[in-house]
């Protein structure tokens, strides 16, 4: 039953034929878990709260920092340093005290995912890395929970709904995470602040449509949005039963799967040195230093005398170096350089060392 306050609060919903009091009741009885209270999570949480979703779970281990405030619009400057899930719940309960907020100030892991997903009707993926996305997909498949997906890159976004009414899953679209080489974990990829606002709001829209049972949900469809030119397209995605069966066959081992390793975020490719060790090695004539960043990336550090061979061309360029040459490879954060080392190994180079942490550690 809706209270008088709720009937007035949600009157603009109730006036809609497609919602009415029955629809608002459905929202009140719904339980939604939002993974991440960041760029995507903030608008999702705000709109689901405003809409009166009865129970909202918020899972985020991260703390608020100043650079978040360019796009994570639930937070204030005074919140810097505090946990995102806790602060989100605090502000959201001011917006709508009728909602039951369950705060999980922790990481989503294989140890908590299955029981969490079982507790909620719908999960919204507002995470910011592949390991969590694949973990969420697999947990959603195993627990048979719809997953409202959104993902962004600079000025572009994707939206879809996975595992809904027998529809495709994330792995039906992208079966495996990008290998090391896809540079996706570099944290200084920028983003236009409004983009997660746009995509997160689309995710909130999908969630409401699922709960209310109205409109057309993006199941079997991938919405692509480009903020720079307002191009948007809906692409058809088909289900790949093999990908679903693969996940189900590993359900019993789910708690032991290492998603970080599968997404290669911490893989070792051989010897590593840090910036001070490299400094001591400078002046060794038999050493070549290679910078695999793009030509426009800063800082340059001429004193290193590095050859600039961007990662994208390192396979096709002839380095004109003997295969036993001592080569130190660096990039911005020490991640792309590992991919470059793997490529150079395949070309026969034997003496490759990575600059751990990347050139940002140099001073």
């Amino acid at each position: 039953m809706l209270t008088e306050e709720e009937k007035y609060r949600y009157s603009r919903h109730i006036k809609l034929n497609e919602v009415g009091e029955p629809g608002q009741q459905k929202l009140k009885h719904a339980n939604v878990l939002v993974i991440g209270a960041g760029g995507l999570g903030c608008p999702v949480l705000q709109y689901l709260s405003a809409a009166g979703v009865g129970t909202i779970g918020i899972i985020d281990f991260d703390t608020i920092e100043l650079s978040n405030l360019q796009r994570q619009i639930l937070f204030t400057t005074e919140d810097i340093g505090k946990n995102k899930a806790k602060v989100a719940a605090k502000w959201l309960s001011g917006l709508n005290p009728n909602v039951d907020y369950i705060v999980y100030p922790e990481r989503l892991t294989t140890k908590n995912a299955l029981s969490l997903f079982n507790d909620f009707d719908i999960v919204v993926d507002g995470s910011d890395n592949f390991a969590t996305r694949y973990l969420a997909n697999d947990a959603a498949v195993i627990t048979n929970t719809p997953l409202v997906y959104g993902a962004i890159y600079k000025f572009e976004g994707q939206v879809s709904v996975f595992n809904y009414q027998n529809g495709p899953t994330y792995r039906c679209l992208y079966p495996e995470p990008p290998s090391y080489g896809a540079m996706t974990s570099c944290s200084d990829i920028g983003v236009l602040g409004v983009l997660p606002g746009m995509i997160g709001t689309y995710q909130a829209n999908e969630t409401l449509k699922i709960i209310l049972g109205i409109g057309e949900v993006l199941s079997g469809k991938l919405l692509l949005v480009k903020a720079l030119n307002n191009d948007s397209q809906k692409l058809s995605v088909s289900k790949d039963q093999q990908e679903i069966d693969k996940v189900m066959s590993k359900a019993d081992e789910f708690e032991n799967i290492d998603y970080d390793a599968l997404c290669n975020t911490t893989k070792s490719v051989g010897p590593e040195i840090n910036a001070s060790e490299l400094k001591q090695m400078l002046g060794n004539q038999n050493m070549t230093i290679i910078d695999v960043r793009e030509s426009f990336e800063e800082p340059r550090h001429k004193e290193l005398n590095a050859k600039n061979v961007p990662l994208g061309v390192i396979n096709s360029v002839d380095l004109e170096l003997p295969l036993d040459e001592q080569i130190v490879v660096y990039c911005q954060h020490g991640i792309r350089s590992k991919t470059a080392i793997e490529i150079l190994k395949k070309k026969g180079y034997q003496n490759l060392t990575n600059l751990t942490g990347g050139i940002v550690t140099w001073n």
Binding site: Y153, E156, L173, A182, P196
Partner: protein, 79 residues
Amino acid sequence: MKVTVKYLGNVAEQLKSEYEYIELPEATTYLQFLEVLNTLHPDLQGFVYKVAINQSIATEDVELKDDDEIAILPPYSGG
């Protein structure tokens, strides 16, 4: 025949291009097109992406037609 190929995400950045027209022999299939693409842009080898033909993610080897629109879709992880 001519197809329009649209690039997104880090693929568009790598190729420094959002789209291009590619000439193909009549009756080129989707898999043959991928070979043409890899020859034209060897840098793409390091990338993971899905391909859509005329707004539908490609799942089997089909014959392409004149004016087909192909989109190269790398995954995004940001949030």
